[in-house]
Structures are given as C-alpha cells and as structure tokens.
Amino acid sequence: MTVILILITVGASVFSGYWYVQLRHDTETLRSAPKDDPTWGILQLNAEALKFADALHAVTIDNTAKTRKRLSLRLDIFYSRFDIISEVFVRYEQWLSATRTVDIYPMVAVSQHKLTRDFLGIRDRFIDMDRDVQIFLSTTDAEGLKGIRHQLDQVISSSSELASRVNQATNQKEFNIRENVLDHLYEFQWTLLLIILGFIFFSAASLVLYMNAWRAEQRSRQAAIELKTASEAKSNFLSSMSHELRTPLNAILGFAQLLEYDPKEPLSDRQTSSVESILRGGHHLLELINQVLELSKIEAGKISLNFGWVPARSVIDESLHLIESQALENEIEILDHTTGNLPVLWTDSTRLTQVLINLLSNAIKYNVRGGKVTLTCQEIPPYMFRIKVIDTGQGIPAKKQEDLFKPFERLGREAGNIEGTGIGLTITRQIIDLLNGQVGFESELGKGSTFWVDIPMNSQTNEDDDTPTFPGQP
C-alpha cells in the first residue's frame, strides 16, 4: 500500500517535471517567435506592385514630369517593401535556428528556407527592373518602358504566387505550434489530474490508517478497563471469601486446642494424634487463607506502607530471631555473615521483615536435612543495599526458574511433604516492588540457590545522622 503510494507520487512528480520542461520550452518558443507576420508584408508588397503598375501605365500613356514624379515615388515605396520583407524572413530564419523549432517542425523550416530563397530571386528581378526605371527617369526615353512592363509582370506574378505560399506556410506554422502546445497542455493536464488523484488517495489512505489506529487504541483502552475491573472483582471476592473462611477455621482450631489440653478429660493417644492432625491441617489452611488475603490486598492496592529510615541491622536481627525456632525444628544451621557497619534503609520495616522471613523460611523448608542457610549483605552503590539468603538445597531446574514468582507455582512440590502455599514468593515480589526494591535469585541444580533483595538505602552509613537524604523519596 505504502509502496504503491510512493510509486504513484514519484511517478507523478517525474511526469509533471518532464511536462513542465516541455511547456517551458513551448513558452520560450512562442515568446521568442517573430511577432510580425510575413503574410502582411507580402500582401503589402503586392498592393504596392499594383500601384507601381498603375503609375507605369500613366507614364506609358503620358510621359510628363508629373507622371514621372509619381512613378519615382511609387518606385521608392515599392523598393522599401523589399527591405521590410527581407528583415521579417531573416528574423524567421534566426528564430528557427535559435529554438528547437527546426527539430520539432522540420517542414516549417524547409518551407521557410524555400520561401526565403524564392523571395530573394524576386528581389533580384526587382533590382534589375529598378535600375532600368532609374535609367528611364534620368533619360525620359520611353523606349525602355516596354521592357520594364515585362519585368514588372514577372515580379508581380511570382510575388502573388509567393504570397499564397507564405500564407500557407504561416498557417502551417501556427497550426503546428498550436497543436504542439495543446498536446503538451493536455498531457500536463492528465499528469496534474494524476497528482491530484494521488493526493486524494494518499489523504484517504492516511485517514483510514489513522482511524484504524484510533479504533485499536480505543479497543485496547476498553480492554484495559475491563481487565482492571475483573482484577478488582477477583481481589474483592478473594478478600471477602478469606474472611468468611477464617471465622469457621478459627472455631475449628480453637476447639481442637481445647480438646488437646483439657486437663479434666485427657485424650487417649489415638485421639491426641487425630487432634494434632486436625491442628496441623487447620494451621496450613489458615496460612494459605492469610496469604491469599495478603496477595489480594496487595493486588487491590489496599495495603498501607509505613516508610521510614530503618537500620538494616535491626531488620536482619528481628528476622533471624523470628526464624530461629523453624530452623531448629528443621535442623538447619543459620550463619549470619552480615557484620560491620550496616546502612539505614528507606523502607517499611514490617514488610521488609516479612520478605526476609519468607526467603529464610523457604531456604529452611527446601533445604536438605542438616543443611545451612547463610545470610550476607553488600552495598550496591549508589543507593541500593542487597541482602542475600544462600541455601544448600537441591537448587531450581533452569526450565522452572521463570515460573518461580507466579502464584501457586510450587515447582513440582505440590505432592511433597513440605508445607507451602505457593504464593509466598509472589507476595514477596509484590511487596519488594512497593518498597521500590528488586528481588532475584541464582540457582544451580544440586548446589543450592541464592535469593537476594535490593532495598533503597541512605548512602551515608552514619547511623547517627538524623536527617539522612535519599533522592527521589518523600
């Protein structure tokens, strides 16, 4: 489509350029054409010849000074006409050779050459006669008049013949030039029409393309609105469902705990085992519900964050403290390598602690028995602080790595004995996004995984500074 448009435009431009040059040349030819018509000159010559013939007749009848004077005057006027026609013919010849007219109208040029030649023949004859008339006027000898009459008749007959030929040649020339100009004008008109049509076509095509783009944009905007509405509906549904589920679950867990520890009516070993199963299942369900609730809150944008300057040390210490029992239970050794002077972070301490616990908890859960979890940290200049959680688990297969942060993805652990909801990392990433940080991991199958979070920090590590500055933050 575009290619056709470009071709039409270029073609039309080339055509119009060509016709412009042609018309330009036509204009020049017309402008420089001799503006006097040789036909008029020849007719005047013939008229003068007849007047001279009249004067000659008068002298023949009555050879007096008066008639001779009249003859002399007519001869002079007659003579002057030859000069004028010569000049017109000379100008025609010059014009024919100066313009490309000779190429375009060879017949005009050829007939013009012939006319000039024949005219010069007539003039020679006239010059002979003129000499004889001069002799007569000085001698007044009427003997010569007969010869003069004969010469005049020859001049008149060939000049009459020339007059009709000049007229024809002039007509032919006018016709040829007009036809040529008209031809070029017609062609130019067509080209112009083509350009106009091309322009209209181009405009229409542009309009159509624009309309299509506009409609597509409208559709995608509509789709985005619908998607947002659907997402909000889902979040609202999950939120209210979680509340509804939590209430009966709390009753189940509460009464199960009462059964387990009722000193008046102790349970049998079998009953205790069953109640423990109820409690374990119930707690798992409660965690799942809590996390779904959390995720739906985040997705609905309903969680509130309390940003502030938080020492990295305190967040790490609290996280380690909270994860201690889970580590003991799973027989995992936790190594804290985050020593030294740590920076202050611009973050929400509760949420960051939640993220760290989630990462540590995963490192413990998916570790090998007797494995290790190492915590390290580093500054990533200029504004980020990275905390790394390194485990000695089985690692994550490369082809499953990209699904890691998707909700309810447990990477084939759904059927295993490790408890998990599959949305912990999803929530982690959502929270880290809200904290203006980044989360990522590296993993090698069989050796373990390293998860890291980057959190904005105050580049000055001086904790005494009460008013740390952090660009881009409120």
Binding site: K35, D76, Y79, D83, D130
Partner: protein, 159 residues
C-alpha cells in the same frame, strides 16, 4: 550580386529621389489650435524646427542600436495645441493606424526624421518614422506597438 546591390543602393540613396527640399513632406490636420481651420503643410525644415529629441534604440527593423532624432510626440502636441484622444497616422502607401494620445504623451515616442543624423529617404522608410524607445521599455516589444510604428508617414490627424 550582393556587392552590386550594395553599390546600387548607395548610388540610389545618394540621388535626390525625394524631390525638392522645399516640398512639404507632412500634412497635419484635425483637432488642434493650429489646424482648426485648415490643415498644416510642413517641409522637413519646418517640421524639424518644432523640436529635436533623440532616441537611441534597436527596433524590430533595425538590428543594430540606431540613433533616431526628430520631433517628440509631447513637443508636437504642445506646438499644435492639440486636443482629441487619438491620432491617425497615414503612410505614403495609405497604410493608416490610430495611435492613442497616451502613447504620444507617455511612451517617449518620436516622429523621427533622421537616422544616425541623416534624413531618411523613402527607400529607407522616410521621411518620417514613428519610433518607440523599445530598448528603454521592454513592454513595448509586442505586435500592437509594432503596428503603430508606422513609417513613410505623410499625414497625421488629431481626432
């Protein structure tokens, strides 16, 4: 042949072909103070006494730059006390054109009697040739003005 022509032309031009110098060459008539009652017949000498204005120009009939001198249109109208809107100019062969008075007043035309200082013979389009200053004003270069550039003028009439 050409040389012979030239020799002959020079010979004839040297002859007093236009007759007696005392003969009137121009008749002026029509609506002017001097010609209300009867037309004015002027000899070359009398006509040239009115004014001498020079125009140097090429013309469609003179390829080389040529010096023409004679009576300017303005001076002639002043001399005659002319009225009217058009001037009929009539040639020896009875060719007649109407020249607007505005041309006489504004175009700078002259009624030339001399070419390069010499009076013009009838054979050389004399005795009077209406010359427009073509070189000074390119707008004059058209058929209409060519038609008004009458030569061998024998009579002018104001109307």
């Amino acid at each position: 042949m050409r040389r012979m022509l030239l020799v002959l032309t020079v010979f004839f031009l040297s002859l007093p072909v236009d007759g007696n110098a005392a003969d009137p060459i121009l008749t002026i008539g029509g609506l002017t103070e001097k010609t209300d009652k009867s037309p004015l017949h002027l000899t070359l000498e009398e006509f040239e006494a009115i004014d001498t204005t020079t125009v140097i120009t090429k013309t469609p009939w003179h390829k080389e730059e040529t010096t023409f001198s004679g009576v300017s249109g303005v001076a002639l109208m002043k001399f005659l006390g002319a009225r009217g809107t058009e001037i009929d100019a009539i040639a020896l062969n009875d060719y007649k054109v109407a020249i607007p008075v505005s041309d006489f007043l504004n175009s700078g035309l002259i009624l030339a009697t001399r070419k390069n200082g010499t009076p013009m013979s009838i054979r050389d389009k004399g005795p009077i040739f209406v010359i427009y200053p073509f070189d000074a004003n390119p707008k004059l270069d058209n058929e209409v003005i060519y038609g008004r550039s009458i030569w061998q003028v024998k009579e002018i009439k104001f109307r």
